[in-house]
């Protein structure tokens, strides 16, 4: 049959809520885009284009034909590797412990007896399947996004009693679903409503904010389109009729029917099916539709080909079964002699590559601020670790330490570590005390001792040096910038934002060297004070 296919790319999350009752403060989206919603969006587009406030079904025969008689608006299902996926047959089973395995063997109960190695058959976790070019099924569920919202009856008031918190579990943005409209007049309807590549529509709830916007892509006409296998020339074998959408069937007494026997004119030999409540919403009335009990999509009914009227079958496959067929209900596909075992394959991992492009001035500033804050975060962690692993020994003169701290702060303010070197050079009598003091650094589990004045001179040299990132080798060297604070290239590669360069890095280096020195000297000064207080308490 002739069909118009198009992809719907979700620009925003889409919420077309399930009918089943649930938490009154939440709405959960269907895992697909119903044909009825797509039809509704196209009707709205038609009315907007023609500046209509309501659709005159009596007077507008063309619109009546398009939207209610001549065309079927099928459900839009997820696109898997470029193919419109379909609800996975409910006759498929996997070994229970391998339910999540993406390369599991699938037993199709409609194909034959259970293989002996399948001990505990379980239903599949995913709702949709698509056959790859290699004949192996790929399975997937659409991604979802959950958002919490709140609404108040009084403006600007958010409090218990006046506000309501609710949860929307919607189809996540960034996904593609493939829709189908069958019928000879599909192309002319598309032209009349503006259904073309790039057109945008809204679907589902909360369309005016945050949800609903979809874009049409890859619109194409297929002359001989079908959803399942073609019927074979011969009359032998099994035929599995799989529902490609929910079906609303009724028996002669008007009660819901749960098989296709009346439609095909023969009894089924086996069935794997479920039922669920089907509803909908009529925006013209502003009311929900009457609900009915439907046979769930994916339900499988097995027949003997020899007992079936092929002409009747072909009609059924083209037209569908049951009520609300124009909205996509009652689609059936045929699987001739389904295989007993299928080897599941994984959907290939891919992501849309982002092209290199220049940032605007404003965005560049933000990216630079982010990069700087990221780098500072890493340096803070290094600094805390370095201070914890450094201590000063054999230094009793707190005044000397205080003067050194002031020199360190001055070096940071002036962005010039040579202030430290000059301070050391100006020391006279107290210089001897510095020569006996030691800095103990714990690096890689090993303690390394060096003279305090030599360590200070080393820091001053580091402050003047250009390198910021850790230099390879020399990890056993003096406990200065490269060993204690410098970040590795691996760290750099994993950072976010635009990292500072040049002078800004040099200023950061001096700041953190100064803070390291200040913190270590302050720690030493407190140790001396604590020791003195302890001595006083002990009566010394």
């Amino acid at each position: 049959m002739k069909a118009l296919l198009f992809d719907l790319y979700l620009i925003k999350p889409v919420l077309i809520a399930r009918t089943e009752p649930g938490d009154e403060n939440s709405a959960e989206a269907l895992a697909y885009l119903p044909g009825s919603s797509i039809r509704g969006a196209l009707i709205s587009a038609y009315m907007l284009r023609n500046k209509l406030s309501k659709l005159d079904l009596k007077g507008d025969a063309q619109a009546r034909g398009w939207f209610f008689n001549d065309l079927c608006f099928l459900n839009a299902y997820p696109a898997l590797e470029g193919t419109r996926a379909l609800p996975a047959p409910l006759s498929w089973r996997v070994e229970k412990d391998y339910r999540a395995a993406v390369d599991a063997e699938i037993w199709d109960a409609a194909g034959g007896e259970r293989p002996g190695y399948l001990q505990t058959p379980a239903t599949l976790g995913e709702a949709f399947s698509a056959m790859g070019g290699d004949g192996s099924p790929r399975l997937a569920d659409p991604r979802r996004s959950m958002e919490i919202h709140n609404a108040s009856w009084e403006r600007r008031i958010k409090q218990a009693g006046d506000s309501q918190v609710f949860l929307y579990d919607a189809l996540a943005a960034g996904q593609t679903f493939t829709a189908v409209i069958t019928g000879e007049a599909a192309a002319s309807m598309a032209e009349a409503v503006g259904l073309a590549d790039g057109a945008r529509f809204s679907l589902g709830r909360s369309r005016s904010a945050h949800y609903g916007l979809v874009e049409v892509r890859n619109l194409r006409t297929v002359e001989d389109w079908r959803e399942g296998d073609a019927l074979p020339a011969g009359q032998q074998g099994r035929l599995a009729l799989v529902l490609a959408s929910d079906a609303l069937l009724y028996d002669a007494q008007g009660q819901p029917a749960f098989n296709l026997d009346a439609e095909v004119g023969a009894p089924h030999s086996a069935a794997w099916y479920r039922t669920r409540v089907a509803g909908g919403f009529n925006r013209a009335w502003g009311l929900p539709l009457p609900q009915g009990l439907a046979i769930q999509a994916g339900s499988v009914f097995l027949y003997d080909l020899a007992q079936l009227d092929k002409h009747k079958l072909n009609e059924l496959l083209e037209r569908g079964v049951g009520d609300r067929r124009a909205e996509g209900f009652g689609r059936v596909r045929a699987l001739v002699n389904p295989p007993v075992v299928l080897q599941r394959k994984d959907v290939a991992f891919a992501w849309p590559a982002q092209e290199q492009a220049a940032l605007s001035d404003e965005s560049q500033k933000i990216a630079q601020a982010v990069g700087l804050q990221c780098l500072i975060g890493f340096l803070e962690e290094k600094l805390a670790s370095a201070v914890a692993n450094l201590r000063v020994e054999q230094m009793e003169d707190r005044a000397q330490l205080s003067r050194l701290r002031m020199a360190a702060r001055s070096a940071v303010d002036l962005k010039d570590f040579s202030v430290i070197t000059r301070h050391l050079g100006q020391l006279k009598a107290s210089a001897e005390k510095l020569k006996t003091a030691r800095v103990v650094a714990r690096v890689g589990g090993v303690e390394k001792r060096s003279r305090l004045n030599e360590w200070l001179e080393g820091l001053a040299r580091d402050g003047a040096a250009q390198e910021f990132w850790r230099q390879p080798g020399n990890q056993d060297g003096e406990p200065g910038w490269n060993v204690l604070l410098a970040l590795s290239e691996d760290d750099r590669a994993g950072m976010v934002g635009l990292l500072p360069t040049g002078d800004e890095l040099r200023r950061l280096k001096i700041t953190y060297l100064g803070r390291l020195l200040d913190a270590v000297l302050q720690k030493a000064s407190r140790e001396i004070q604590r020791a003195a207080q302890k001595e006083v308490r002990n009566g010394g």
């Binding site: 945050h210 919403f281 976010v496």
Partner: protein, 243 residues
Amino acid sequence: MPTYQLKLRLLSETTFGRGDGQAGVVDLEVQHDALGRPYWSGRAVKGVLVNECADILDMLSGSTDYAEWCEAARWLFGGPGSGMGQGSNLSFGEAHLPDDLQRFFERQFQQQVNPLLNDPRLKDEAARRALVAREQERYRKLLLRSISADRSQTALGEDGTAKEHSLRSQRVLMPGLTLVADLHFYDDPQPRHRGLLAACVKALHSGGSRRNRGRGDIEASLLADGEEITSWFQHDFATEVRK
């Protein structure tokens, strides 16, 4: 039709959140996506503009064309319910970082992960997906930490000391950050619609949580194809109101 956007520039620290936090981390978290990029829900964006619109309509309640302004508000923002006549002609997207910056962070993440995906030890697609998920979680935490700060507040009791169990921490976005929300018109807006929308945007000065405690000062403006629209407010609102 041009591409319209609402631009929001943060003038003070701001939390666009949903009222919940992350256990053990912060009591009030900013909304962010899987990569840690902050955003403000489209429903909240529409909500603050509807609030401003209501105030503007209150001010115009004595004017002779009050009914026309109300009709313009209904055209822009719709009414409660899902019926045919209740929909709005304007759809608000979430307010997110500028498009080029969104793509920059996504590209940076891909550049960090792509070399890891070539590791021959990754057996299959499931292993690749697991690696991407782990790296995404790392990137999310790092970006969030780098684009925001934590602030703590405590309530004071009558005696001036901190009330027990009142310490709350809140994540705030840095001032100077810019967010943009896509606006989609389903039909061509008329001058009155444009004017009212521009007035609502001009009146918008705050958003997010703890607005009464110094947070959430914002500067809002309308863009068409990236350029600021200045004429809608002057020509289509101010002139009309002064008539």
